[in-house]
Symmetry: C2
């Protein structure tokens, strides 16, 4: 378990002092990570069949003339004599793009260790502050000492991240200049759907200019919405969901012990509700709202409120005036009537503004007017006051959990007057987000990320470009994981924006026909009245269940993985 | 480690189904707990010197004529032939009083196991829903099967808790009736300062009526404000602080990675700031507000705001536009001017109410008027609208962290206009409370509680009453812990209420001359600009640091314990 080569580090790079680490942080530093067996042996990178696109292959072909159709790659053990991997030195850059996710540091460690162990005299540059670091050529050369304090640690602070995109011809030019200046053989882009799309555009651009710089992507996002057959999960999802579920489980025990609060827990994840679904599978809340289902059933905010109110009434009749309710951060984005209201509000705010007397409300369509009146006063104010730099309503800032508490309370009061509800309702609100993005990665995320990074470096070593690092067979022990790369163009479709086709990797939403949702749907009725709360407790790094993977992945991997993992 | 007598439990008592436990919960169920060595041997209960009171001994003597002055007791190993503990059967009741704290179930398990192992044919009754359960004689007889699913688990849901008090002559009468009906030899009251005062009044009452029922208290509260020399800590504090610190550490790593947010974290603990202090010692935030210091320095809200603003400016100059700030839940209760404003508001609300135009504000004294105007609008509304059933302002509902964000932002904007601040300020608010009250108890809390319960039963077995279960020498391994009971009257002082002396166990506040605060005060300057964040990570139950105790306790126990624990 112990890394005998651990250097004595007093001061790290940008801000970490290993000397002020907690004992758990320190103990994690020196845990050496298992690798899939193919990465421990001599291997070749073998091509598969040619690929297509997720949709509109003709358009994708036009957008990626050099890369479209390229096969995915697989690492296959080979006899040392048959190995075609050149013994050369590589210059590689790595960049973190977008929001934090536990494990990012291990991707970088994986790249670094590959270069150390499998090549001679290679260099690894970390671009600072995200893609802007590439454009501005702001970087640090990563060394054993520099990387050491970040091994198995949460956060992105080794080189930090950013949300800039390399989009315009000038920006591509800047990236080219950096690649040339540093004589880069390769670049690893660690990011979500947008960043991986960007990585592919960069790869295409470098190839079209006959530059030697190759680009490989890595799937990162706690939201869990970047995944496909070859990339079973994005890193960080496992850790974040386990941290949130620890808190939810604690709140559940508190709810049951106290017997007088309804805890409304909003969970990070704006676009897709994977986090909420996973936390529900881990903890069994009384009520869970899944955005994708709300959208598919075209539910109104009133429908959602009534659904919650109805269960609260039933629970009250059963003697329970407490409970736990999970809500995805992006809930109101999923409700068509709310989207409509916000679109109308944006128009009104942009053109005429609002008056104190409320005469402006007449400009709303009647359905939107009704909906606006339904909102609690505090939310009405948020809708009018909180605007982004473009003057648009900031949906993300709306505290949906507090909004629902107020709306449910109003409904329950009405029912009380009619004698249809006799309970006591006290809502408590929670938002879990920042707490989960930078936790110490679980063993799964630590191992998965290390393998993703090691594989990314191997793919670059083999001269591959435009692939996303792909580690599979995740239901089996690490030794049996498969390793390769998937053509990024094969994950793409196009969207029409400003009259042009733009390539996109579509976000993987919660599929209502998928096994995780169906499992949840088959159980949730039981969870509403019975209190089948599960408290997963804090993430453990040692012990019998320390390597368990999350429910979503387990269910998506299918029965054999489930059986194995349930043992 | 494994409990071979673990019964197969399908359905537990009030709501726990062991079949839906997480794997960690299940693994904790079967961990057998170490006992202090004296509790594993034959012992006698030996009296110490007579005791006095914490203050006003004459008044305490009048209030507790039967119990005042009684000695504390100590368990001492003895030869089996010299043992004076009778072999008899006991009927014992147990009650949980007040807010949840991790470990309560283990106190009950400790009592139960003592009775099973050291007496014959004893019975243990759990009073349901707190002291009300005693008064209404609502109870359940606890059995091996009933208790099993709660072993080492968080929450109070085995028998639940309540906030009622046994105060009036009628209520004492009800308690007597219950004690007689169940033929109780003893009662264990698990609670905070108030509940232990109540326990002593009950003990005095039973004794004065020549009833056989003895009463022993146990120190419970996550707030950590029930402690003295003989009772080094209250249970639950260790777990709650570690859970909060896990979250704070994660938020710190996020702050450093993202580089653009100030996280204002409010922490549960209204009366004393022990939790905030402990979390600061664990995590090294940039700014920590300790209520007791604010009160001692007679600081105003403006002083506190300026203190924060000043550090934010200095950090901005050093290139950091992010940080983490800890705030105790009870902060505004510590600020004299706020107490004054609220007292005036309560008067105005009770008598005249407030008008829309704000003419009512003229009734405030000028200092209070100024302060009111200083508050952000949302807080002004909370002050006027949120009232408790008595019509008083609900200070606890005020989101102090959001209030400070707004006040700091206003100050920074002013400074920006003057050119004195050039940074960007984005506040994010957090409140950690319910997440920590019911977590799986740490090894320390699990062991400590088990010993407290085991000791409480031993004290009752020896015929003791009016003592609080006292387990000491906590810096050493469990085997070396000392076990005894401390006279509750010795912890008491009196307060004058409604013209009468009332006995109180004074809350242990953060002592500005104590070692934990002084340690913090000697380090905090360093933490403001340098980012010496520590991320304690999730509580571990297995591994090298799984038995570590919290910093406050470690520091209060003194250098030898520290040295030992730091190894």
């Amino acid at each position: 378990m112990s890394n005998t080569n651990a250097p004595t580090v007093k001061k790290d790079g940008p801000g970490r002092l290993a000397s002020v680490y907690s004992e758990l942080q320190t103990s994690r530093l020196n845990v050496s990570l298992p690798l899939p067996s193919v990465l421990k042996k001599t291997f070749n990178v073998v091509d598969g069949a040619p690929s297509s696109a997720s949709g509109n292959p003709e358009e994708i072909k036009k957008l990626f003339p050099k890369l479209f159709g390229q096969p995915s790659a697989r690492l296959v053990e080979c006899d040392p004599k048959a190995c075609s991997m050149e013994n050369k030195s590589l210059k590689i850059g790595v960049v973190l793009s977008g929001g934090q996710a536990p494990g990012g540091h291990n991707v970088i460690s994986g790249i670094f260790d590959y270069l150390q162990e499998r090549t001679n005299g290679s260099k690894l540059y970390g671009f600072k502050g995200g893609p802007a670091g590439i454009m501005k050529c702001k970087y640090v050369e990563l060394s054993t000492e520099y990387i050491y304090p970040y091994r198995n640690q949460g956060g992105f602070d080794m080189i930090c991240s950013g949300r800039d995109k390399i989009e315009t011809p000038e920006q591509f030019k800047q990236a080219e200049e950096t690649a040339k200046k540093l004589d880069l053989d390769g670049l690893v882009v660690i990011g979500g759907d947008d960043s991986n799309t960007n990585a592919c555009l960069l790869a295409e651009n470098f190839r079209s200019k006959d530059m030697k710089t190759r680009v490989i992507g890595c799937p990162k996002t706690i939201d869990g919405d970047l995944k496909c057959k070859e990339v079973p999960t994005s890193f960080g999802f496992d850790t974040a969901c386990k941290i949130f579920s620890e808190m939810i489980g604690n709140v559940m025990t508190d709810a049951r012990s106290t017997g007088k609060y309804y805890h409304f827990v909003r969970l990070m994840g704006r676009a897709a509700s994977h986090i909420t679904l996973e936390c529900a599978l881990q903890t069994h809340p009384n009520i869970t709202i899944i955005g994708e289902e709300v959208a598919a059933k075209k539910q109104t905010l009133k429908n959602v409120t009534d659904y919650i109110t109805d269960i609260i009434c039933k629970r009250s009749e059963a003697g329970y005036n407490y409970g736990v309710i999970l809500i995805p951060e992006g809930l109101i984005d999923f409700i068509p009537e709310v989207q409509q209201l916000i679109a109308e509000l944006n128009e009104i705010l942009a053109h005429d503004g609002v008056d104190q007397d409320g005469a402006w409300k007449k400009k709303l369509k009647s359905q939107s007017q009704e909906l606006f009146e339904l909102f609690p006063k505090a939310i009405q104010e948020q809708l009018l006051l909180e605007r982004d730099p473009h003057g648009n309503v900031q949906v993300a800032k709306i505290e949906t959990e507090k909004m629902l508490i107020q709306m449910v309370e109003t409904e329950l009061n009405k029912m009380k007057q009619k004698g249809a509800y006799k309970g006591q309702f006290n809502g408590q609100s929670h938002f879990f987000g920042y707490e989960g993005r930078c936790g110490l990665p679980t063993n799964f995320d630590a191992n998965y990320c290390y393998a993703l990074g090691y594989a990314a470096a191997a793919l670059l070593h083999a001269g591959k470009t435009g692939l996303i690092s792909s580690v599979g067979n995740l239901g089996e022990p690490v030794e049996e994981w498969t390793v390769g790369g998937t053509a990024l163009t094969s994950l793409m479709d196009v969207e029409r924006r400003h009259g042009k086709f733009k390539p996109v990797i579509k976000k993987a939403m919660v599929e209502l026909e998928g096994i995780p949702f169906k499992t949840f749907a088959s159980l949730r009725e039981d969870w509403t009245i019975k209190n089948l709360y599960v408290s997963p407790g804090p993430i453990q790094f040692v012990g019998p269940n320390a390597n368990d993977i999350n429910h979503t992945l387990k269910l998506e991997l299918g029965p054999p993985a489930q059986a194995k993992l349930n043992k």
